[in-house]
């Protein structure tokens, strides 16, 4: 099969998933509204702190807003395409993965478009926050227009990193079946931590967030260069390298995990 036919198949599966969800319009609307509500309340938690205290350890309101926005948008990108990777437990518990394994395509490619999520709320909110923080910093001359393409670039590398973390975490499910608890640690806790500058945390914790579960590479490290001119331009290509390395490692782990799949009822 050519790359083009893969792509068209993938697009077809995504259309199918949207069509399936549209069968339940009320549910779809309810889920969308609640997802937006959750997102807003998460944002308010950060916004209130910023509103009340202004800066956190030398990071201005706009800078913290930027950290939050980049993380939100990277996560949104990851979850839009690969929400089902995050929900692999469901497939492991009821053996639905069997079906996907009988399809003539890579399992991951069959899994991902099972449920395509339209995350309009997150996009709007992340986009708004990004616009607010970037325009604030441009107004004060902290950053120039070049920050815009750089930001889009790091959102993409960030999404790849988050996807890799998510995939590696989900892969543990082939041994443990239950993964929610681990996800809580590697996805939710780690991501929430990186919404603030990592200097807030003790050394051991920030090291974990940069190396073991590298969420710091999604927003914190690139911000050091883009917003504050620290490190150097090499950060940007290095991020792409790191993202690809994470992806390669987690794909390798996933392939290995698949051979340990136990199916159900046995």
């Amino acid at each position: 099969m050519t790359a083009k036919s893969w792509l068209s198949l993938y697009a077809l599966l995504i259309r199918t998933s949207i069509k399936s969800r549209m069968q339940y319009k009320f549910n779809f609307v309810l889920a969308s509204i609640l997802a937006a509500l959750i997102q807003i309340s998460e944002f308010l938690m950060v916004a209130i702190v910023l509103y009340k205290f202004g800066a956190i350890q030398g990071w201005s309101m706009h800078e913290i807003g930027y950290l939050f926005a980049v993380m939100t948008l990277s996560k949104t990108l990851y979850r839009t395409f690969a929400d089902e990777v995050h929900h692999l437990e469901k497939y492991l518990v009821n053996g639905e993965l069997d079906q996907l394994l009988t399809r003539p395509m890579p399992v991951l490619l069959a899994l991902m478009p099972q449920k395509f999520r339209i995350m309009l709320g997150e996009v709007l909110q992340g986009g708004f926050l990004l616009w607010w923080s970037l325009s604030g910093m441009m107004g004060s001359g902290q950053v120039g227009w070049s920050a815009v393409p750089q930001t889009l670039y790091i959102i993409l590398t960030g999404a790849v990193i988050l996807f890799s973390i998510g995939l590696a975490t989900a892969t543990f499910g082939f041994w443990t079946t239950r993964i929610t608890e681990l996800q809580n640690l590697t996805e939710d806790a780690a991501r929430t931590a990186a919404q603030y500058p990592l200097t807030l945390y003790p050394k051991w914790m920030s090291s974990i967030l940069l190396i073991l579960v590298p969420v710091g590479l999604v927003n914190y490290v690139p911000s050091l260069y883009i917003l504050r001119g620290e490190l150097g331009w090499w950060v940007l290509p290095a991020l792409a390298g790191a993202a690809l390395l994470c992806l390669a490692l987690s794909l390798k782990f996933w392939q290995f995990g698949l051979t340990k799949y136990q199916s159900t009822g046995s």
Partner: protein
């Protein structure tokens, strides 16, 4: 004692998953640790009101531990799953009221979480942050009452969320929506008095402050015992709502046959 049996079975059922729960405890402890670090960072440059930095760390430690009593309970008390599998019609046929039946189970769950989650997590914080325990026994009694009330309120809220599963397949979103509201309005990360005025008003019109903020204030010794009247008021109101919801639920199941 049927209810006691239900509760102790629910408690025992959890014992099998202690391995997974250990990982969960680590995650939960990390969350609280992270929030505490944020407040320590903020406290370096700002005065943190009547709490002070150490007070805010104590605040976070307590809310994080109390979360396992008044927030992270079974999604919809398991009703959504019963609806999906069709078990709900069986449950409704039982000679016990659905609400009290599920509630008894949930108390077992909460007892388990209190012993295996809240306490270990708090002990970790106690040593990590050199926290202080409240001095007076009478204070602890009020905290216990406030927590029990919070657990009950949480059971009621989840019962209502569960009941909604008969009308929508996406009720798990309500569960997470409820979580988001707890994070914001129950004073989980930010004490309610620091919210903007309109949010404070909204919070006090809801039962959310009684889930975390009130027990925490009482525990830290800032609270006023008269808060407990609010807890009682919401307990009564939500109980009525649950009984009403059971009526609707029953009718719905009878109409569509589970």
């Amino acid at each position: 004692m049927l209810y006691f049996t239900l509760a102790s079975k629910a408690y025992a059922r959890n014992l099998q998953y202690r391995g997974a729960h250990m990982v969960h405890n680590i995650a939960s402890a990390m969350f609280g640790f992270m929030y505490a670090c944020i407040w320590i960072g903020l406290g370096a440059d700002h005065a943190l009101g009547e709490y002070g930095t150490q007070g805010m760390v104590g605040y976070i430690a307590f809310t994080q531990a109390a979360l396992w009593i008044s927030s992270f309970i079974t999604n919809g008390l398991g009703i959504p799953q019963a609806v999906r599998t069709g078990h709900i019609s069986l449950d409704l046929m039982r000679p016990v009221h659905l609400f009290s039946h599920l509630m008894a189970k949930e108390w077992g769950q909460i007892a388990y979480q209190f012993i295996y989650k809240s306490i270990p997590i708090y002990v970790v914080y106690y040593f990590a942050f050199s926290l202080e325990l409240p001095g007076k026994a009478s204070d602890l009694l009020f905290v216990a009452l406030a927590l029990a009330g919070a657990a009950y309120l949480s059971i009621c809220i989840n019962y209502l969320i569960g009941a909604s599963a008969l009308w929508t397949t996406e009720s798990s979103w309500l569960y997470w929506g409820n979580h988001a509201m707890i994070n914001l309005l129950a004073g989980f990360f930010i004490p309610i008095e620091w919210l903007p005025g309109w949010l404070q008003t909204a919070a006090w019109w809801s039962p959310y402050p009684y889930l975390l903020y009130v027990p925490t204030r009482l525990y830290l010794g800032f609270g006023n015992v008269s808060y407990l009247w609010g807890t009682l008021f919401w307990c009564v109101l939500l109980t009525l709502a649950c009984l009403l919801a059971t009526g609707f639920l029953r009718r719905k199941v009878e109409v569509q046959g589970g």
